[in-house]
């Protein structure tokens, strides 16, 4: 089922009635999620991701705007009639029920013609449990399981009623690093096999990039960019998106544009005739540096971290916004570790130019 959001806005009233106290959690948000895709809602803490998810699930009503599932408007439909499955950040498994009872809980709510027979319920529960590989733990209570297992139960409980849309709120944040890798592949597999349109919320860009078909980058309730992870990474619309995606993060320099040439300090790093003269920010991805004795960009060499496959060259530049500039370079490149300076040339598609005022992308 495709999900369409139209001009979605959510305003939380402040403590006093004054308008200044209001919090605009989601601001005029529009996008369309194609059927059967896995979409990552990505943004820093407090940017309105969870509010967005709650509005899609129906737990919160939007202040204005519309939500469509397929061709039906569900903006004011109660959560139980939307056919969504929601996996909570802390899983919200009922602690007094065992795994089987937890998974069966949504099925027992069905009424009228949807009502299932006992055998039917058992069958569905067993199927869902086998699907997330917890069929051997059906008699356990949630407290007797690890975080990863609890999460599988939560996913099974969301899937057992065969929802049209599956929503996951920070699904990996309560897991340790190792389990996180494993679980995200698991989520990807489950989504691929069930073909359920899935939206998950995360603040971890790596997580979002690695498994999503599409990522939606948010900042303070407004949509920044939508696209395939690689496209958004390669072609960010503004400085925020460029900075938010990528580990290690992009290196940002203060620079200026003069006669179509972009300067960092006095080094001309790029020819970009379409950029008008003025102050700019220049962003260079860590993998965009090529050590080159003839290269235009000169930095003071501080340290080299060897990581085997490649190495991380840490240097400093007076124009850089952060203290150090981190570049990732193939370890085959011979670098004189004793020299005081290092010169780089820059891969043109790894360098971006942003307006200093609006932080919009200029090149």
């Amino acid at each position: 089922m495709k999900v369409v959001l139209q001009n979605l806005t959510k305003i939380f009233p402040g403590k006093s009635k004054k308008e200044a106290d209001q919090v605009v959690a989601v601001n005029d948000f529009s996008f369309e999620i194609p059927d059967g895709k896995l979409v990552g809602l990505l943004g820093p803490s407090g940017c309105g991701k969870s509010t967005m998810l709650n509005m899609i699930s129906g737990l919160q009503k939007p202040t204005s705007g519309h939500i469509y599932f397929g061709d039906d408007e569900v903006t004011y439909v109660e959560p139980e009639h939307r056919g969504v499955g929601l996996v909570f950040q802390n899983y919200a498994l009922y602690p007094h029920l065992n795994v089987k009872q937890n998974i069966m809980f949504p099925l027992q709510n069905l009424k009228g013609k949807n009502k299932l027979s006992k055998e039917e319920m058992e069958k569905r529960v067993t199927e869902a449990a086998r699907f997330v590989q917890i069929d051997s733990l059906l008699d356990r209570k949630p407290a007797e399981m690890s975080g990863g297992q609890q999460q599988r139960v939560a996913i099974a409980r969301a899937l057992v009623k065969m929802p049209g849309v599956l929503l996951l709120d920070e699904p990996l944040s309560n897991l340790d690093a190792r389990l996180r890798l494993q679980t995200r592949e698991e989520i990807r597999r489950i989504q691929k096999e069930t073909k359920i349109t899935t939206i998950f919320v995360t603040h971890d860009q790596e997580e979002a990039m690695s498994i999503s078909d599409m990522i939606v980058v948010m900042k303070q309730g407004t949509l920044q960019q939508i696209g395939k992870p690689q496209d958004v990474y390669d072609d960010p619309v503004n400085l925020f998106v460029a900075k938010f995606l990528g580990t290690p993060p992009i290196n940002v320099f203060e620079g200026k544009a003069e006669n179509g040439k972009i300067y960092i300090g006095n080094d001309n790093v790029l020819y970009a005739p379409e950029v008008r003269d003025g102050e700019v920010y220049v962003g260079i991805r860590p993998e965009g540096f090529i050590p080159d004795p003839e290269g235009p960009l000169c930095c003071r060499l501080i340290n080299i971290e060897v990581m085997g496959r490649d190495m991380s060259v840490i240097s400093a530049n007076n124009s850089a916004v952060s203290e150090t500039v981190r570049s990732i370079i193939n370890s085959d490149a011979g670098i004189d570790t004793d020299s005081e300076f290092i010169r780089f040339s820059v891969k043109p598609h790894k360098i971006f130019v942003f307006d200093k005022e609006t932080e919009e992308r200029l090149y």
Binding site: S57, G58, L59, P79, E80, H81, V84, G85, L86, F88, N90, A92, Y94, P95, H96, F105, P106, Q108, N109, L110, R157, K161
Partner: protein, 298 residues
């Protein structure tokens, strides 16, 4: 305590508490137990004339004691479930209002900080029939076409009604306090999860709310049972000290009367009655614990 070396230290720390508890709790308890088997014990001369079960057989045949047991049992069976039920209803109401919640919470908590005897006085004014006035409650009954009932000196059921009413009113604030905080501690996520799954209000209450607050409910039921079995002051506040004459005595009241009342001076009988009360409370609490294993989720 893995080594003997450390264990004497632990005992040393426990010593003050053990001494006090031993001197003021364990020793008197054992003493009461001993008195209950000593026939005709006399405090002044510290003498008795025999050892046996006579005290028990006397107490169990005493019509005043049987009346007291009956009163106490009625009180327990009526007030504990009703007060807990009402408290739960009120707490549910309180947790669903937002605006004047604090005001209501304060109002509901007022009886708890009010003196028992003062409340008794108010109840007397409300219910008592005198030569000058029938009391507020009777005026209301008259208004709706009923005839006046003397709640304080009248028929047994009327007096029992007032006693139960009074007890429920007195014990409810504490239960409301405990239950509102228990309800508040149930995480919102559970309700949200239930809502998404289309759980009906009733099922949410019985399958999520109740199990989640069951430890607190159980605590209230157990302490409620024990408290009601030990009722005495409430009865005095309403009907005065001559409870046997009013037919409204309780087991603890009977024990007191046997010790100090106008017919008092029988510590042996008092001890026997106290031991019987102890046995009843112990039995009921054990039954409670057994039942709770099945229905309480920690």
């Amino acid at each position: 305590m893995e080594t003997g070396k450390n264990s004497w230290k632990a005992w040393l720390y426990l010593l003050p508490a053990i001494n006090f508890l031993g001197a003021f709790m364990v020793y008197p308890l054992v003493d009461v137990f001993v008195y209950s088997f000593e026939e005709g014990y006399n405090f002044a001369s510290q003498s008795f004339f025999g050892v046996g079960l006579y005290n028990f057989s006397y107490v169990l045949r005493d019509p005043y004691f049987l009346q007291a047991v009956k009163n106490t049992l009625i009180l327990v069976l009526i007030t504990v479930p009703l007060s807990t039920g009402f408290a739960l209803l009120i707490s549910l109401g309180l947790s669903s209002v937002k605006k004047v919640k604090n005001l209501f919470q304060t109002i509901y908590f007022l009886p708890y900080v009010t003196n028992t005897l003062a409340v008794g006085l108010v109840f007397m004014i409300l219910f008592k029939k005198t030569a000058y006035s029938d009391g507020l409650v009777n005026l209301l009954i008259n208004r709706f076409g009923g005839s006046s009932v003397d709640f304080i000196d009248g028929p047994y059921w009327a007096k029992m009604f007032v006693l139960c009413f009074y007890t429920i009113w007195i014990v409810m604030p504490f239960k409301i306090l405990i239950l509102t905080s228990a309800l508040a501690s149930v995480k919102e996520d559970y309700y949200n999860a239930a809502k998404i799954d289309g759980t009906s209000k009733f099922r949410t209450f019985t399958n999520i709310t109740l199990p989640m607050i069951s430890p607190m409910l159980f605590y209230l039921v157990i302490t409620g049972f024990i408290g009601a079995f030990k009722a005495y002051s409430d009865s005095v506040a309403l009907f005065g000290v001559n409870l046997n004459a009013a037919g409204m005595n309780t087991i603890v009241g009977y024990v007191y009367d046997m010790l100090y009342g106008s017919s008092g001076g029988y510590p042996s009988f008092a001890s026997a009655a106290a031991i019987i009360l102890f046995a009843i409370v112990l039995t009921i609490t054990c039954i409670n614990l057994l039942v709770s294993k099945k229905h309480v989720h920690y």
